[in-house]
Subunit: 243 residues, 2 copies
Amino acid sequence: MDELFTNIGSKLTLSQKIERKIEAAIREKKLPVGSKLPTERELCGAFGVSRTALREALRRLSARGLIEITKGSGMTVTGFKVDDAIKTMDLYYDMQFDQNLIPQIIEVRRLFEPQIAGLAAAQRTQNDLSDIQENIELFRACDPDNIQLESDLDNKFHLLIARATHNPIVQITMEPIYSLLPRMRNFIYASVDDEKEVTHESHLLIFDAINKQKHTDATKAMNEHLDRTYEIYKRYLHTTFEK
Amino acid sequence: MDELFTNIGSKLTLSQKIERKIEAAIREKKLPVGSKLPTERELCGAFGVSRTALREALRRLSARGLIEITKGSGMTVTGFKVDDAIKTMDLYYDMQFDQNLIPQIIEVRRLFEPQIAGLAAAQRTQNDLSDIQENIELFRACDPDNIQLESDLDNKFHLLIARATHNPIVQITMEPIYSLLPRMRNFIYASVDDEKEVTHESHLLIFDAINKQKHTDATKAMNEHLDRTYEIYKRYLHTTFEK
DNA sequence: ACTTGTAAGATGTATTACAAATTTAAACTA
DNA sequence: TAGTTTAAATTTGTAATACATCTTACAAGT
């Protein structure tokens, strides 16, 4: 009797059923991206439900990034672009943020970023190069006492390289991680003295390889750069907890 | 007059303001995961808004996976776990799915999976090993005419290795990709003849390296395995479009 | 041609009422 | 007393109506 009588009533609320119907229509391109949805009144009539139930379904869809609602104007199908996915990942990392997420993030960076640098060397455009170069210059020129700006620029450097791959999946994977790094600054970045000079040199090396489209060199340079970050992290753990 | 008269109204709807307030409370752990929210009526009183506006805010939060609403019972703060993030990524890939997503996915796999195999060699447990071994055995024994099962097992193999890293970020990155692969089967997998034997051999090689915790060998074996996949893909493109 | 005013149409919010599910506690039975 | 049933109270879900606010289009006026 366990398996027999389960799942009879769908247990979904009416507004959830409506949500799924519209979502399915969007996924199947029956409602193509950019098209306008019928008005609320029309949809109420079509589904045969009250405006309350319909609107709650629409709120769900807009919260998830599937549609966009403009007061006075109407509703349009919005595609669900890279930024929506990145925001969701941001939320995830925010909720999961704790001490033991840090080693996991470092692990992923050491795993992926050298490869990313290698791909960037192959795919980068002139725009990418000038963006990275500008970032390096800003980093070099910034006040050594301004730890916040310094580490922000450092993160931006890695972000720009990820974007230079021109692969949106790489972006979605890495951008939420970079936006999380500022919160780890107190754990890692601040504990070093002559950090800035060494970082600047590393960045130059990486940029040079990407500029010259030397795939292997870029991978290697990024690898060594992150190895140093890891050493700093380990040193921090040592000085803080071991005593 | 440029700076003076800009940005007066926040342009956020009331329900969006409410959504952000509650979201902030959750992110700041003022509403810890697992705790129950006040009832709708209480929240209406607290915020001084109508039930309509409040409920639309709550619909948004539940759609995004931040809270769970149970009819008759109440509302609780849910964790926003790995599965929520994966579902979002699934939606993204579903919406972006087109011809040129395929090369991007292949690119990411060739970029990341060898590294993942290397990490798996270091982190795998006995459970991981037996799971992978079972998968290999099922693959070997499956009917060669059952293309569907065959490619599902193939995907599962790679999924198990990603899990063997025991790094949730790796999971979130790769799992949505694997769940997308079945839709690419028609594009890639089916066009090969003696695919199964070769795949089986490759999988054995990779497993062996992971089993013996040989980091470099695992990376290399996975690399070669994916190179072959890429060759198949190129061959498919050639035979299909070029003529 | 440009600005302003007006009306129509769309989404946003408020209110009231009731339906349906769950929880709680009382009443009842063995 | 322990367990079960019943009933009431609580909570979320849906409906219906009214009005507010924003957008757009178009007409009117300068």
